[in-house]
Structures are given as structure tokens and as C-alpha cells.
Amino acid sequence: MATSDWTLLHNRFYRKVEVYSLLWRDIELSKHLVAAAPLGGPVALVRADPRALSVQAAVAAKPILRVFSAAGKLVSESQCEKGNIVAMAWNSCEQLVCVLETGSVRVVDLWGQLVSHLLLGQDAKDFGVLECRFFGSGLVALTGNLKLILIENYSNSRPVLLADAGISSKPTSWIVVPPQFSSSNQPEVLLAVKSTLLVINAQTVIDQRLQTGPHISIALSPNGRFISLVNTAGKVSVISSDFSKQLAEFNTGTSQPPLQMTWCGSDAVTLHWEDSVVVVGPFGDCIRYAFEGVVHLVSEVDGVRIITNDKCLFLQKVPNSTDEVFKIGSTHPGAILYDAHEHFVRKSPRADENIRSIKADLTLAVDTCLEAAANEFNTTRQKALLKAASFGKCFVNDYDAAKFTNMCETVRILNAVRRFEVGIPLSFAQYCYMTPEVLIGRLAQRHHHSLALNISTFLKLNPSRILVHWACTKIKNAGPGSDTTQLLESIVAQCTTHNPNISFTQIAKTAYQHGNTPLAAKLLDHEPIAANQVPLLMSMDQDDRALTKAIESGDTDLAYAVILHIKRKHNMAEFFRLLKGKPVAMALVETYAKNHHDLQLLKDFYYQDDRKIDMARVFLAESFELKAAGQQVNQQIHKWKESQRLFAESKDCGFEVKALEDHMKLVALQGTLEREIGEMFVGMTVTETVYKLLVLGHANRAAKVKTDLKVPEKRFAWLKVKALVEQRNWDALDKVLSRQIRR
């Protein structure tokens, strides 16, 4: 019977499903520090040395950390850092966070590998950490001097001291409200002090002025809207998380503090005392389940996972669809359809009768059966429900078949991950909450790459992430003596068959970090994005290839990055050697030197490349700068001579040599003219010089310049005419022109 494990709580049924019979043996939860991740996550156990034992013993031994899957299969076993673990919990990436008494926070992955290591600061170090509370991405620690220290994000934040609560003794209990649920959008702490609750964030302390305390246990519902409190009198009360409403009250009848209090979904509160678990509903009723000894409760979005010494159970409010189909005496279309199908199998005519009676609601009936199938842990019942849905679907004209196939897919995925080898006991609601992408990621983290890949293909998602993770894992586990070529081949073959455009950078980086540089280099060759290859190549000291790849990418900025890196790192000779044969790189260096006005670099560059003409041009440019800077002509002449020499050594530069020759002649002439006439000439062109002389009336001198520098007759005539116009010497102009005409 589907309803055999159902129990009524006020008007709704709750069911306790046995998911796994645990694979572990001889574990006594009461003797362990337990951390279990929600969403079917793993369970971490550290043998808790009874505090009473001698301090030396606790300090001397490094505790053993064991991680199990939810089915109790050992995933990893590792030694922790020396020291007393105060608390541990899983973060939202399924990494285990362990807080030691000394204020050291270690984040390790499923396999016991250290991911990051943080310190909680001086207060924690000096006074020790008393207790810790965790939320998705961070934690709050209570130190021996009653200060609260917040780490908001394990990856990138420093410890922050929260506002001082001004308390003199340890709070009777406390929790953290994650930022997404708090009114200030930052993590808040609820501190049970005396009879009231204090709400504390980084800046403020607010007293909620409750009278119901002292509270010995607090819990926040998974949707963040309710808070349940237990006071010393054994009274459980539920209030809204903004403290505006009192919602329910229940008297447990015992003043013994519960071992654990968590929420079962957001509908009921679960309390655990030794040998029993009590579910308290919103209307003050309760269900009492008996358990042997101590269990561990894990709050889930739709229920609570109960881990006992030998079993994993799931306690939830029976989902609506399941309730509607299976509740005894249900007249919901879904129930009738299910019934009809049973009759149909038995070839009973009642099938037809049933279908007729729900004709109008058949779509609803099919939908309900489908959802109930997804909510079911028992595969036989899943099948029966799916068959009923399939049966009912035939009577609906245009039922959207995609709904049916999608649900079948979902059920298959859920069954696949629930298998005890994998051990992720997800309910349908949890699966929807976590999304398939995250599920796939978690599977990859647990090294179930093949399953992850299958699911991803099944759902037509991009497999790249899994492939990259798989390849990185493979490299990490390969060890130093493994065959690089084989590794490379298998990785490349696997990855490219599933996604021809996969990016290899991450994989190569991993290989490099694990000391396998040759493999990293070879992997990079397969990287389709050139820009991604470059930084890694640079850090691997493969500057030559980094430069080639940077140029290949067409991104000159990247090429500049490599060029400047090389320039800084190597001497000039090596720098130029690396540039050789890369015309683009050479052009970039040229541009860079010109833009930055690094004429020395430019000259060195041309010199090693034997580009005399370009070098000559640099000297030329330099000479003009000297002039701009008001330097003496002598220095300019030096530059011109140098330039001329270089031109003379190159082919086809006769003109340039001649032009410079003339120019120097001109400058010399101008010098003389300046001395003789006392007017500025240096810096003028030949034409300008002649013109100025003519305007000033030094016809003879103009003629000398003309002959010395071989100014053509024609231009001279033009200049003469122009000068006469300038002088307004109309008579002379008339003479010149008439002579011209006569000719």
C-alpha cells in the first residue's frame, strides 16, 4: 500500500520513506561530529573525542575525517589538521568547512583536498572559537570573548567583526540568517539572550523584546519566513521571521533541550531527543516517531532527511499530487485515472466507466499522475503511475506529449542518481530547486563523470564543463610517473568527440599546476581560442609560442602584453631574437617605440635587423626634435651626417644622400646669411630662403643661393615675381613680365 507509511498531522499526511539501508558499518552517530549536506548531499563524520577526555589526547591525535555518500558509501578518508574541530558544515558548493578551536577555517572538497584556508583573526586566536553557525557561502563564529566574527564568502572575504552585542555570558542559543533572507541583505545573527532575541548585523544590534525566553534552540525555515523557538519550559513557538506574528505554539512537555531542531520543509518543525523525533505541525499537533539512539536531521526544502546509525530516511509532507492519487477515498481525477488503469490491466469494464466519469478533467488527471510518479521513491509505483498517465493521455485529444516525455526523463534521472552506488537521494522538489545543471556539476565533483555526461547528453545540455572537470581530475590523479602521450590522447579524444569546440585552457592549467608542463603545452595546442593560450604559455616560460599565439589571435593588445613581458624579462639580444621572423610583432615593436618615443629602442631594433634606411630616418627624426628643443645646429648636423652615412650604405638612396648634402649646404649658407644680414634664416627651406632674400632686396645673395643649390630657373622666376608683388614694386614687375612675354 502506498499509504502504509503515512501518518496524519492535523489534516495533512506525512510520510517517512526509507531511502537507503546504509552501507556503513559500526558507526555510532552519537560519538561523532556529523555534517550532512542538504539536497541529498554527502555526510562527513569526525570522531568526536568526548570533551571530558584528557586534553593531551585530543591535541596529540589528528582526527580522521571521513566522508560518506548519503547511502553510506565511503567517499574519502583523510586526516584533519591537528586541533579541536568546533564545528563543520558543507557550503553551497558541497565543500566541507571545518572550524578549529584556534580560529583556523579549512575548506576541503569531497576528497579531503584542501581548497582554501582562512583565519578568523586575533580574537578567535586569543580566546578560541566557542561555536559556529553556517550559511550557504559563509559562517559566523562566536569567540571566547563573546564576539561574533563573520566570513561572508570563503573565496574572497576577510573576517568582519559584527556589532558588539554587549553580552556577558554565552547566549543560550543562536543562528545566522543568510543574506538572501535578512531584511538588511547582509548576514544577520539571532542571539537568544535572557528572554529575548537580539538581531545583529555588521553595524547594529536590535532587541526584539520577546518575553518567551530564555530560548534554548532556534531554527530558521528553509524559505526563510519562519523561526521556531524552544524555551526552557519546553514550549515550541513559531514566529514569522520579521517578528511580527506568532504563528503556532506547542508544548513538548519536557524541559530537556532537544538535541536538534530543524524544519521539515517549511511546514513543520522537527525536534529530536534521544530515541525520538517529533514533528510539530502548524496547528499544535504532533507526530512522534521512535528511533533508537541518536539520529541526525538534515533540513531539506520539502522535508527532512533523517540519518540513523543504519538507515537513511526521508520524512516529508506527502506531496499534493501523491496525496490526491493515493489518499484513501480520494475522488480526485488523478485517483480515478489510476484506478481506471488498474481496472484496464485487469480487463475490467470499470476502466471505461472511470474514464468517462472524469472526461472533462482528464488532462488534470494525467498531470497529477505524472507528478505523483516523479514524487515517488518506489520504482514499482513510479511505473504504475506513469502507465496510468500514459493510459489517460490516449483519451485526451491534443495532450502535449513533451510533458509526458520530460517527466519520464526526470524520473529516469532521479532513479539514476538515487542508486546506492551514486547515493544522491533527491526528491522531485529538490531536483527542481537545484536545477539539472547543478546536479550535473555535483555528479562531476563526485567523479561520476560518465553519469553526468549521460544526463547532460540526455537533457541536451552542453557537456563541456563535465569534460573539463573529468580531464582535470584525470590529470590530478595521474601521478608523476604516468604516460603523458597516453593521457593526452585519451583526453583529447574524449573531449573533442563530445564537443569539437571545447576549451582546453583550464585543463592545460591544471596540468601545469600539477607539474606536467609538457602535457600542458600539448593540451594548449588544442585550444581553439588563441587568447586563452597566451597567459598560460607566458607563465610556462614559453614566450616564443606565447608571442606566436598572441599574433595568431589577431589581438594586438595581447601581442603587446607578450612583447612587453618579453622585453622586461630578457636582454635585448634575446628580445630581438624572439621577434625575428614575426613581421607583425616587429611592426608592433616599431609602433610602440614610435608612440612612446623610445628612439633608442627603435635604433637598436633597426640595427639588429640591418634596416639602414629606417635607421637613417630615425636620425632624421631626431634632428628635427633637436631643432624643436632649441638645440644648436651643430648637433643637428651630426645627426644629418649619421643619417646620410646610413643612406649612402643602402641601395637606391642616392637622392636622399644628395638631399641631405644640399640641406647641410643650405644650413651653412643660412648661418652665413644670418651673420651677414642679421635676419633669421636657419630652419627655412631653400625656397623660403630665396624668397626672403629677394623680399629683403639681396638679389645677389639670392642668386648665389640659387646657383649653389641648383634652384631651377622657373621656380626662381616665380619667387622673383612673388617677391616683387610683396614689395609692391610694380615697375620692376612690369619689366620682368614684359621680358617674359617677349621671350
Partner: protein, 679 residues
């Protein structure tokens, strides 16, 4: 192009909000002068205001901005050293008060510029980020990256391929908006590099859209992946033709004779804005006019004549749309027509008898006022241009241009070139004409060339030694080979050596039919109207590849060589209905055109099923013509003319910038600061 405009404004507004500018905040937007036009094309001033920008300041006036604790400053600039240094200088003075200054590099950050900020030690008070605005829709059929003329120098003189990366990026963006362009044609080495780069980037986009962001986000919720939907399944462009500017250096050197071309030559159009004498603008400016000018009215304080920036925006200015593609000879007539039309419409007020008729007239009044203002603007501009075209030097220039182009070489032409130097004519004009002569004739006789060069050095200064070398290395100024015609002239790039005909202007003149003798400027039948008898070789090449214009029906189908090479190709229509965009059948033509080898590639569409559908339902196909190193406005006009003509093909131009001969030459001229004696 609406897609693009929307994209630009989205990008800018998003960047502003990232910089902490929100409605009601008092933000100052500092804009690099070279980008102000670009921004105003994409975003209206009103939109900026409502986004929280209190005022817009030109980068040149950055000093006037007082940084205070409450003020948010956003600087938009190009990633060039000079601009970056200007901002750094200001930052050093303006203490690091209040909010950090946000610097947005358009279109991307550059390492070299970021270093400027680091080296000055102001990194702490700035936030550097990129503002990926690259393609600007100057018009519905004209996209430009507005990389100013530096792109030409970089690509062909310095061989610095930086801008190819920007162009490739821009092409990718275009394809992300308009769908993959399956067919790629090109000519020139840079074109080839670009095509490969673009294909490579597409692969990279495909790859990165499928790669994990980082492994740490592996299992926490909210890691999103959107596979393979970067490029929409449509095909607004079925082909792209990429041309190196060196394919046709003659066209930009020629004096443009369309209205827009001449406006650009005389006034210089910068991102649709043009600086004109203030008196050109009607004083009782109507609203549209105000909008057009208000967006950017930066007066240059030094100029004696008050000038003002006006937008030649075809969206607002309908008269300009009418005028821009016309041969300048026709502009007067059209202006007259418009004047008369407006007068007629104004005169209808006398006929307005009834109240409703008067109301009708009043309704039209606003539009008429606008028309009048535009008429005044264009009449004034046209007058100014006429002054220029009546100048004897201008006419000499034209005469020489037409003669040289059509192959009438006479010795006196060289004399005229010499005379220009002797008369100390403006350097750019001189060099432009000399280059034109040299390129078209394949060079100048060594002795004469040397003489000419000496004249230039003696007149314009020794520093032009480098300028002359620059011109030489671009084959703009070469000496005529002295030996027989078998010798390869210096102009040849890396073309195939077996070619019987060397790529040169003389060899392409006939097969490309670049000279058209009878031109009807009023009702043009050929693109040659834009230069009154010369058809831009670049556009002819596009015609040949797409089988439109002069090459209607030519190509693709194997046609007999005689027909293929015929100057005026006989339109062998019907031979093949579906004319593919291809060099096939016109390889020989492509070979005589200089500038490197022609190539053809294809790239797969995102959705293979899409090809069949699209080829059926779309009648008018569109080709994107990409000019690497700039294009002239005459080339745009020519392609517009082709879009209207037979052949059923539309053309959209994408260019690195708008070019004129003077700007092209100017980019090659060696600039020396503080050189005395500039005439």
C-alpha cells in the same frame, strides 16, 4: 540598421549605469572629441539626460570639470596614448575625491593605455572599462568604424594589423545582429588576414559560448550556459566583399564630383557632422535644426570666423538625401526646384480661404520652416563649393585628372606638377596630384622624378624626405621602370608571377571599363557619373563579382573569354538566373587589379536547414562591401546607384572610415612639430 542604433544606445546606457550613473544623479560625461559624433548618432541627448547625465563636456575642456565628492565623472575616450595622458594629467590635479572616475575606452581597453594610468599612480581613483561601440550606422546603407585616417597608415605603411582586429570584432557583432554571412570574397593581403581572423573569431565565439566560466561555479546554482545561440538564424547579408584600399588607390586620389564628395573635400565631414560658417544656418532655427546642432556645438575659440557644427543626417535632412549622391553639376538645379516648391507651398496661403484651409496651411508651416532652413544651409554650402570649383587651380587639377585617367599623357602635365611646387601650392594638393599621376601612369621617369622630389624638398622642407619615402613604399610615387615592359614594375605586390598581364591601372582601364565617355549627369546610367566620366575601379570590381551594373549577367556561368574581357560586356542574361557572388568567371579581371590576390571562402550557417528557406523567400539580396583603410563618399554613392539598378542586389558599405585623397596623403605626411616656415 535600427538594430545597430538600438545596440549602441543600450551599450552606452548599460555602461553608464555600471559606472553608477542613474536617473537623477549629477553626472558629467566627458567625451573625446573624435567620439562625440559617434555617440550622438547612437544616443539622443534627451536619453542621456534621463539616464542621469547632467552635462556633456568635450575632452579638451576637461579642465573645467571640478571633481567633487558628490559628482560622478564618466570619461569616454579612444584608447590612444595622447587622450589617456590628457585624462591622467587632469586626474593628478583633481584630487581623488569621492567616487572614482570611470573611464570607458571605445571600443576596447588597451594595455598600453592602462599602463599610462598605472604609471601615473592614479589607478586607485579610476575604474577602467571598455565601451564596445565600434560600428556606427552613418546611414541605412553605410556603416563606419570611424577609425580616422590612421587606419590607412597603420595597415599599409606601418603594417600594424591592430585595426583588423577591431574590424573582425565589428563583423562578428554585425553577424550577431544580422546572421552569419555565408559567402566571403576578398582581394588583398589584409582582406585575407581579416577573413581568416573573422572565421577564427567565430570559432572562438562558438567555443567560448560552450566553455565553462570557471570550475568554481561548477556546482553552485546560477551558473548559466547559453549554448550556440549567439548568431541568429537569419541572413540579412548573403555575401561580403572585402577590399584592401590598395586595390584601388586611384579613386581616392581623384577629386570627387558628387555633392557629398565635394562637401567632404571642401569642408570635411566628420561622422556626419560638418563645420560650417555660422551664417549658413538659418537663425530662426526650427526645432529639428536645434536638435541637430545642440548635440555638439563645440566652437573652436581660435577661429576668426564663427563656425558651427551641423549634422548632415539623412534621417532628418531630406534635402540632403536628395542631393548627396548627385553630380555637383546637378545640385544647382535641384536646389532651385526645391526653392520653387517651397515658395509654391508658402504661396498656397493666398489660396487658403476657409478656416480649415488655413488650419491646413498652419499645419504644414513647421515642415516648411525646416525645409527652408535646410535649403539655406545647402545653398550656402553649394555656393562655397562653387567658389572652389571655379578656381583655375581646381580646374587644372580636374583637367589633369581626366586626361591622365583616360590615358592622354602629354609632357605639359609634368610641367604643371612642377609648377604647382614652384607656386608653393598646398602640400597635400600637390602630393595628391603627383601621386595620382604616378599611380595611373605606373610611375614617373627616373630623372624627372628626381627633379620633382628635389623641388618638393627644397620647397616644403627636408623632413618630407620621409614623406616621399612613405609615398614610395605605398607605390604612390614610383619611378618608371627603365627596361622593357617585361620587367615587373614596383607596384606589383605579391601577385602570381605567371599572370600575363601585370596588375596596373593601364591594364585594368579597358577590361573594367573605368572610363566612360558619354555621361548623362542628370540621368546617370552608369556609376562613372560620380567622377564625370571615371568609374571607381573598386566599385567596378564589386560589379564584376556580383554581376550588376556594367557586369550585369557576367560571371559565374562559364562565358567565353572574348565576352568576359570585353570592355562593355554584353549582358548575357538568361544564361543563368541565379547569379552567385563570386570571382568565378571574372578571375582575369580580378588579376589585373593591383593590391594582392583575390580569394573566396565560405562559412557555415548556424542552422544548416536555414539555407534552403532563406534562398527562396528573399528576393533582394544584400552584399556587404568592406573597405579596409577607408572609402570615399563617391564609392558609397556608386554602390547606392547600383542598389537602385537592375540586378536585384542591395549593397551596404562597411568601412574603417571615410576617406578623401587629401586625408589619405595626409596620413602619410611626416609631421614635425614646431617646424618653422610652413607657408
Amino acid at each position: 540598421m535600427e538594430l545597430l542604433r538600438a545596440h549602441i544606445s543600450q551599450t552606452l546606457l548599460a555602461a553608464l549605469s555600471r559606472a553608477g550613473v542613474s536617473a537623477g544623479s549629477k553626472a558629467v560625461l566627458v567625451v573625446d572629441g573624435a567620439l562625440s559624433g559617434a555617440l550622438s548618432l547612437g544616443v539622443e541627448a534627451a536619453a542621456l539626460r534621463s539616464a542621469g547625465v547632467e552635462r556633456v563636456v568635450a575632452l579638451a575642456e576637461l579642465r573645467s570639470v571640478q571633481h567633487s565628492a558628490t559628482l560622478r565623472v564618466v570619461v569616454v575616450l579612444r584608447p590612444t596614448l595622447k587622450e589617456a595622458k590628457a585624462v591622467v594629467d587632469w586626474l593628478v590635479v583633481a584630487a581623488s575625491l569621492g567616487h572614482p572616475v570611470h573611464v570607458l575606452f571605445v571600443p576596447r581597453r588597451s594595455l598600453v593605455c592602462e599602463r599610462v594610468f598605472e604609471d601615473a599612480g592614479v589607478s586607485a581613483s579610476v575604474v577602467l572599462s571598455a565601451l564596445p561601440i565600434d560600428i556606427l550606422p552613418l546611414d541605412d546603407d553605410l556603416l563606419s568604424l570611424e577609425l580616422d585616417n590612421a587606419a590607412f597608415r597603420q595597415l599599409y605603411l606601418e603594417k600594424d594589423p591592430s585595426c583588423l582586429h577591431s574590424v573582425a570584432k565589428a563583423l562578428l557583432k554585425l553577424q550577431a545582429l544580422h546572421g552569419i554571412i555565408p559567402k566571403i570574397l576578398g582581394k588583398g593581403t589584409n582582406a585575407h588576414t581579416l577573413a581568416n581572423l573573422m572565421l577564427r573569431m567565430r570559432r572562438e565565439v562558438d567555443a567560448s559560448s560552450s566553455s565553462p566560466e570557471s570550475s568554481s561555479s561548477l556546482s553552485s546554482p546560477s551558473s548559466s550556459n547559453s549554448p550556440f545561440n549567439v548568431f541568429p538564424p537569419k541572413m540579412d547579408f548573403d555575401s561580403i566583399i572585402i577590399l584592401d584600399r590598395t586595390v584601388d588607390l586611384v579613386t581616392p586620389l581623384c577629386m570627387q564630383l558628387t555633392y557629398e564628395g565635394l562637401v567632404d573635400e571642401v569642408f570635411g565631414i566628420k561622422t556626419t557632422f560638418v563645420q560650417v560658417n555660422e551664417s549658413f544656418i538659418a537663425t530662426p532655427a526650427n526645432q529639428q535644426q536645434q536638435q541637430a546642432t545642440a548635440t555638439a556645438s563645440t566652437n573652436t575659440p581660435n577661429s576668426p570666423i564663427k563656425t558651427k557644427k551641423v549634422s548632415l543626417n539623412p534621417v532628418i535632412d531630406k534635402l540632403y538625401t536628395q542631393l548627396r549622391d548627385l553630380n555637383f553639376a546637378m545640385v544647382g538645379a535641384v536646389l532651385n526646384q526645391n526653392a520653387r516648391r517651397i515658395q509654391d507651398e508658402v504661396d498656397t496661403r493666398h489660396d487658403a480661404k476657409t478656416i480649415s484651409q488655413i488650419k491646413d496651411f498652419i499645419g504644414k508651416l513647421g515642415g516648411l520652416e525646416g525645409d527652408k532652413a535646410f535649403l539655406k544651409l545647402h545653398t550656402s554650402i553649394a555656393e562655397e563649393i562653387t567658389k572652389r570649383t571655379q578656381d583655375p587651380d581646381f580646374n587644372k587639377f580636374l583637367e589633369l585628372q581626366q586626361n591622365v585617367l583616360s590615358g592622354n599623357q602629354i609632357p605639359s602635365q609634368l610641367d604643371y606638377l612642377e609648377e604647382m611646387v614652384d607656386k608653393q601650392a598646398p602640400l597635400l594638393q600637390t602630393l595628391r596630384l603627383i601621386s595620382l599621376y604616378s599611380v595611373v601612369c605606373g610611375g614617373i621617369k627616373a630623372k624627372q622624378l628626381e627633379l620633382l622630389k628635389r623641388e618638393i624638398i627644397q620647397t616644403y622642407g627636408i623632413h618630407h624626405l620621409t614623406t616621399l619615402q612613405n609615398l614610395h613604399s605605398l607605390s604612390l610615387l614610383t619611378s618608371l621602370p627603365q627596361t622593357s615592359a617585361f620587367d615587373t614594375p614596383l607596384t606589383v605586390g605579391t601577385g602570381p608571377t605567371i599572370a600575363p598581364l601585370k596588375p596596373s591601372f593601364a591594364n585594368l582601364r579597358k577590361p573594367l571599363a573605368v572610363i566612360v565617355d558619354d555621361i548623362d549627369e542628370q540621368n546617370p546610367t552608369d556609376i562613372a557619373y560620380v567622377y564625370s566620366g571615371y568609374a571607381p575601379a573598386s566599385v567596378r570590381l564589386v560589379e564584376a563579382a556580383t554581376g550588376v551594373g556594367k557586369f550585369l549577367g557576367v560571371g559565374t556561368a562559364p562565358i567565353k573569354p572574348a565576352v568576359r574581357m570585353g570592355g562593355t560586356a554584353s549582358p548575357a542574361r538568361g544564361a543563368r538566373k541565379e547569379r552567385k557572388v563570386s570571382w568565378e568567371g571574372v578571375e582575369e579581371l580580378a588579376r589585373v587589379v593591383p593590391g594582392g590576390a583575390a580569394f573566396e571562402m565560405e562559412q557555415g550557417l548556424t542552422d544548416p536547414n536555414f539555407v534552403a528557406r532563406s534562398s527562396v523567400d528573399k528576393e533582394r539580396k544584400t552584399t556587404l562591401v568592406l573597405f579596409l583603410g577607408g572609402c570615399t563618399s563617391t564609392e558609397v554613392s556608386s554602390l547606392r546607384f547600383l542598389s537602385k539598378g537592375k540586378g536585384g542586389r542591395q549593397f551596404v558599405v562597411l568601412t574603417t572610415g571615410m576617406l578623401t585623397g587629401s586625408r589619405m596623403i595626409d596620413s602619410l605626411v611626416e609631421k614635425v612639430d614646431n617646424v618653422t616656415g610652413e607657408l
